[in-house]
């Protein structure tokens, strides 16, 4: 079905707005910078945004739609990143594609990408309907991204159930928008709460970081320019772990060094 050696990784969350596309863009760039030939496939045909976050929106000529219908070759549709030539985007087609798109079509596209790339990252649409089912058909493994909020964790749980039933393996977790201060005050689900509930291995933690918004404004993912902001560091570490490197996870409880952080640690210590 798919070319050997290539990894097909679905990035999904269930709930919208938790950071799927931002993770896909940053992880794509980070992997490419580490020498991995990476393709990012925008499987969100309804509400495509991956082109925008990568700053490639003005360079799209053809999309997955033309590739599937045979009216152009894959090479013509792929948009290579100028600064990072190891990365290419296959843009999502017209939303009207959803009327006829089948899981087999996504598998065909993924197989074509597998001939040229080491890793194919698939940016999954929100929800668990047809768009999800099409995207999951092209994937072998998955990264579930969630935030420490009840609605996001609940939706992630639904998605994990579906990934399991589709035989997707391994499934790893990225916890996004972590606020160490709120966690220390026990006003936010802790990292352990979320990993215990979802029972997935943790691939990475991304702190809440204003620089993410700045970078999306510019269409330049944080990982592109070696930025040192907390989120940039987190995305780079996720890429390294994905490649099998042993990079220790950051402990949000140890993030703060001030009196407040110390007090927070004291307050969350189990006394009985």
């Amino acid at each position: 079905m798919t070319a050997p050696g290539t990894r097909y990784i679905l990035i999904c969350s269930g709930k919208g707005g938790v950071g799927k596309t931002t993770l896909t863009a940053n992880l794509g760039i980070a992997l490419a910078r580490q020498g991995v030939r990476t393709a990012v496939l925008d499987a969100d045909f309804g509400l495509r945004n991956l082109d925008l976050l990568l700053g490639l929106e003005n360079r799209i000529v053809f999309t997955a739609q033309e590739v599937l219908s045979g009216s152009c070759r894959l090479e013509q549709a792929l948009v290579k990143h100028k600064q990072e030539p190891n990365l290419a985007l296959l843009p999502a087609g017209n939303p009207r594609m959803l009327e006829w798109l089948q899981p087999e079509d996504m598998q065909r596209i993924a197989t074509m990408l597998g001939e040229q790339f080491d890793v194919v990252l698939i940016d999954c649409p929100a929800g668990i309907e047809d768009g999800f089912k099409n995207a999951v058909a092209a994937a072998q493994e998955a990264i579930v991204i969630t935030t420490p909020e009840v609605s996001a964790v609940r939706d992630a749980d639904r998605v994990i159930g579906l990934l399991n039933s589709h035989g997707v393996k391994p499934i790893q977790l990225v916890l996004n928008r972590v606020r160490p201060k709120m966690m220390a005050n026990q006003e936010m689900l802790s990292v352990a709460d979320v990993t215990d509930i979802l029972a997935l291995p943790l691939l990475g933690l991304v702190m809440e970081d204003e620089q993410v918004i700045v970078s999306t404004n510019r269409g330049e993912p944080l990982t592109l320019n070696g930025a040192k902001s907390p989120a940039a560091l987190a995305y780079n570490n996720i890429a390294r772990r994905l490649r099998g490197e042993d990079v220790p996870l950051m402990d949000p409880a140890k993030a703060g060094r001030g009196l407040r952080a110390k007090l927070g640690r004291l307050m969350t210590t189990k006394i009985f």
Binding site: R154, D157, I160, Q186, L189, D193, T268, K270
Partner: protein
């Protein structure tokens, strides 16, 4: 219990919202994962009790069939105290006779 929980309790304050979130999530996920509505669960409970009571006399007052969840696995847990075993059904007569022999002694 953490120090924060203890102080909150002492002062009669609301528990920290992370604890509330965790408890609410655990409850809602147990039901999401089982995908069974309460009526179906009740029907299943009745049928399980019916099948079991063909073979052993169970204490219906003390019996309990419920869903429990942990570590992505939802388990159906049946706790059925047995009062006494019913006389064994003969292997040959089991297939046709059992469904209607509830409460009777099939060997008689």
């Amino acid at each position: 219990m953490t120090l924060r929980d203890f102080i909150d309790k002492l002062l009669g304050r609301q528990p920290a919202s992370a604890n509330v979130a965790r408890e609410r999530l655990q409850l809602v996920l147990a039901h999401d994962r089982s995908d069974l509505n309460p009526e179906l669960l009740e029907q299943m409970r009745r049928e399980i009790l019916e099948v079991v009571s063909r073979y052993v006399e169970i204490d219906l007052e003390e019996g309990d069939v419920s869903l429990e969840t942990g570590d992505r696995v939802t388990a159906l847990v049946a706790n059925l105290p047995i009062k006494r075993a019913r006389p064994l059904v003969e292997p040959g007569s089991a297939a046709g006779g059992v469904s209607r022999s509830h409460g009777l002694n099939p060997g008689a």
